[in-house]
Amino acid sequence: MNFALSALLEVQETTLLAARAARRLFRRPTYIPEMITQMDVIGVGSLTIILLTGFFTGGVLALQTYPTLKYYGAQDQTGRLVATALVRELGPVLTGLMVAGRVASAIAAELGSMVVSQQIDAMRALGTDPVRKLVAPRLIALVVTLPLLTLIADSVGIGGGWVVSTQFFDIASGSFMAAVWAGLSTEDIVGGFVKSTAFALIIATVACRQGLKTEGGTVGVGRSTTTAVVSSSILIIVADYFITRGLQIILGLPAA
């Protein structure tokens, strides 16, 4: 099988997995406790890395852009630039990538280990659908928590930009925040949510698919984990471009 055909087959299987998980969400038993556990593991567990990533990204944005803006006499627009860059682009993408690194690897490794130790077969033999029991709760947990994590990353990032701008540069706090509010629109925030929801779907389906198709013992688990992180990260970057272009058309966000 050539590369294009196997890639196409993989896309088909991953999409079917997501569709099966979504279709069986509301059938009993609904696995609410599993969903809450996954939200805790994925959402609360990722909070520290998201806080650090968001804060320092906002800080470095201010640090890098202030001199250029000052050159054009537009240093009071630093807040606007930090906020727009974070909410439209860096917040969703960086949060997606960080969660992909932490959560996609964990999901693929956990499901992969269950496959090689026959726990998935045992689950099916006991009359449980692994897609409903394992995939659906992780999918829901990611779709709920990733937009929230993105919102936190955006807020903390703006906070990081504010700290750098007010402590190291001669920008007043009120001036920075005024620029932030002036720069942000509802479309920006909606766009950020759309992106983070799409990235959540990518991470969950790719990681679960890679985990469930694991073969070849512990070496196979390692391979699935690596593939899950690499594939979901690349797909996030690629999807980001197409979603951005789509949002520019649909929501009328500035394109040029």
Binding site: Q118, D121, A122, A125, G127, T128, D129
Partner: protein
């Protein structure tokens, strides 16, 4: 639940049965013979073929397992033994041929349809396949929790099943704390919750010390003789074959379960051996016939030379 209805074919029938089985059990046995439902095989494979890429794993496999019968599937590694069980559970689909469970053709069943078939089946995996993140209690209770059974009933059933495999003390342990033999026994308890009428053992004694392996075989004998369970016992160990084909379980007057040897006067007819090689059957019959076989491969397999 426990009864003493052991399928025995008396060489000196009247005297043997009188001695071994109570009148009540004999009545029960006659009732079973009269029951037409029992003539439908619990499991039937009809000309089943399966290949992985270019490798033929099963080549026209046909056999039946009657109700209350144990079929021991023997064979070397890669002979298609575990694949046969996976096909029966619907974890794999055959390339051709039909598979029947209680007379119902399950070959083309979807995953959702198989879920209801699997509710009447129990599967014991080679390494136990216990859920690492769940305690012994939760592992055994898994099927009942899925069916949202009230917790009091769940606890009662879990304790009963753990008592059946002599592991009441391990109820709060995690799988990581258990020995290999204990893991298999918890796996058996988990598979038996809900009273499945078909149970499959996939090399349950592999890698276990002889006394623990013997314990696992005794559980299989108890299921066959006291619970009227139809089972497939996949193994490549001749000790297992010897135990299961030559011993039967009865409840003595003190209410204890004891294991008796068929000896020279009785012959267990509810246990047969099936030997696979390269995906095909090379022997089917009783253990006595197996031992008398002059086939070079069978001879080497059972004697080691």
């Amino acid at each position: 639940m426990a009864s003493t209805d052991v399928d025995v074919q008396g060489l000196d029938a009247t005297e043997g049965v009188d001695r071994q089985v109570s009148d009540a059990a004999a009545d029960s046995t006659f009732a079973e013979v009269d029951d037409r439902e029992r003539s439908i095989p619990a499991i039937e494979f009809r000309d089943v073929t399966l290949s992985f890429d270019d490798r033929v794993v099963l080549d026209g496999l046909s056999f039946t397992v009657q109700k209350g019968e144990t079929k021991i599937i023997l064979g070397g590694s890669g002979g298609g033994k575990s694949t046969t069980i996976k096909l029966l559970l619907g974890l794999l689909k055959p390339d051709s041929g039909r598979i029947f469970v209680d007379g119902e053709d399950i070959t083309d069943y979807t995953e959702a349809e198989m879920m209801s078939v699997r509710k009447n089946m129990g599967m014991i995996f080679q390494e136990g396949a216990l859920f690492d993140s769940l305690s012994v209690y939760d592992n055994v209770a898994y099927r009942l929790h899925e069916q949202e059974v009230p917790e009091e009933e769940v606890e009662q059933e879990v304790r009963r099943m753990l008592s059946f495999v002599n592991l009441e003390d391990a109820i709060d342990k995690m799988p990581i704390e258990l020995s290999g033999g204990m893991r298999r026994r918890v796996g058996i308890a988990r598979a038996l919750v809900g009273g499945p009428k078909i149970v499959m053992f996939d090399e349950p004694t592999a890698g276990l010390d002889p006394p623990t392996a013997r314990t696992i075989c005794e559980l299989a004998i108890k299921l066959r003789d006291l619970e009227d369970v139809s089972s497939i016992f996949v193994t490549h160990e001749m000790n297992n074959v010897h135990y299961i084909t030559s011993e039967y379980a009865v409840v003595n007057e003190a209410g204890e379960i004891v294991f008796e040897n068929e000896g020279e006067r009785l012959c267990l007819v509810n246990t047969k051996v099936l030997m696979l090689r390269d995906g095909g059957i090379i022997f089917e019959g009783t253990d006595e016939a197996l031992r008398k076989s002059e086939d070079a491969y069978i001879s080497r397999f059972i004697r080691g030379y």
